[in-house]
């Protein structure tokens, strides 16, 4: 241990906490309060989706048929794998295995980048097919106006989710950097745990987006 990491160790416990356990519990509760605001944020969009699906059922079925089923399914699997590597990174640092922690964090970033690349390909496809809402929007089937609304919700929901993935890439990368600098140990790793909570939340949102957007009208083409 160098002098600098020794100095870090004394600052791990903030003065207003009794002990490390209390500090850890408080930090995880704080993270959950933040995640609740995130649930409300996405909840509003899910609410809009449900209501418009109820009102414009046919348009929603049609819109869903124009999703790329395979990219959506592969991306679901990619995010589940990234959740596994994230939770293994938390486990590794709990056991004080810094090297393994870095490897797992790096794997999580790789999966997240793979997700973004696939998502970008999908957006590009929709753009070329004139499925991006706006003046260039074109849909040949019935009720194109409400199919356009489906695509508005699709782009807003997956867009905000993708923004969260991008933020997640930044957060996990910074954890990787800090871990390489020796900031974390078996005794102190709250930041990694909280980034883990955030990352699993991003996975959780996608777990609901996937069936609602990709699977609802899929059987008509399959």
């Amino acid at each position: 241990m160098s002098d600098s990491s020794q100095a870090l160790a004394t600052h791990e416990l903030r003065h207003h906490f009794e002990d490390m356990e209390q500090q850890r519990d408080a930090s995880s509760m704080g993270m959950w309060v933040f995640l609740i605001t995130e649930i409300m944020f996405f909840g509003g969009m899910f609410m809009a989706y449900l209501l418009y699906r109820y009102e414009y059922f046919v348009a929603w079925q049609e819109g869903s048929q124009h999703m790329n089923f395979w990219i959506g399914t592969i991306n679901t699997a990619v995010l589940i794998c990234s959740s596994l590597t994230m939770v293994l990174a938390v486990l590794a640092i709990q056991q004080g295995r810094r090297r393994l922690t870095s490897v797992m964090l790096a794997a999580t970033v790789c999966f997240a980048i793979a997700f973004m690349v696939l998502k970008g390909m999908e957006y590009h496809e929709h753009w070329l097919a004139h499925e991006f809402p706006g003046s260039a929007f074109h849909f040949a089937g019935i009720d194109p106006r409400h199919v356009e609304m489906f695509f508005v919700l699709y782009f807003v929901m997956t867009g905000f989710h993708a923004l969260h993935v991008l933020i997640g890439i930044g957060l996990v990368s910074s954890m990787l950097y800090m871990n390489e600098r020796g900031h974390f140990s078996a005794d102190y790793h709250n930041p990694i745990e909280n980034v883990g909570l955030y990352w699993h939340f991003v996975d959780l949102v996608w777990i609901y987006l996937y069936p609602l957007l990709y699977l609802i009208g899929h059987h008509h083409v399959g």
């Binding site: 909840g43 596994l84 699993h200 609602l212």
Partner: protein, 94 residues
């Protein structure tokens, strides 16, 4: 003390999540009519519960206040979704 869960548990949960993803994707090829959304959301909720309970460590929480915060959050979401839909669905009855 902080509870350390073995990697075996995480790998098992991961395998279950992958199986459920394949299941929900396969079921989407079958036309279940109105029930397709019910089945899809049921499977999504099982997957979501696995993520929250095991990956997010809610099953192993040692502070009950945190659990209260989490439940309050989901309860609020239920109010948003259920009450709004109850309103819209019953409007035609008047």
């Amino acid at each position: 003390m902080e509870k350390i869960i073995s990697a075996k548990v995480y790998f098992t949960v991961w395998a279950a999540l992958m199986c459920l993803t394949v299941t929900t994707a396969a079921v989407s090829y079958v036309d279940l009519g109105q029930f397709s959304i019910v089945v899809a959301l049921l499977i999504a909720s099982i997957k979501g519960s696995l993520v929250v309970l095991f990956f997010m460590h809610v099953k192993y929480l040692n502070v009950k206040t945190t659990l209260l915060v989490i439940l309050a959050g989901f309860f609020w979401l239920a109010i948003l979704l259920l009450m709004t839909m109850t309103d819209y669905i019953t409007r035609a009855w008047s």
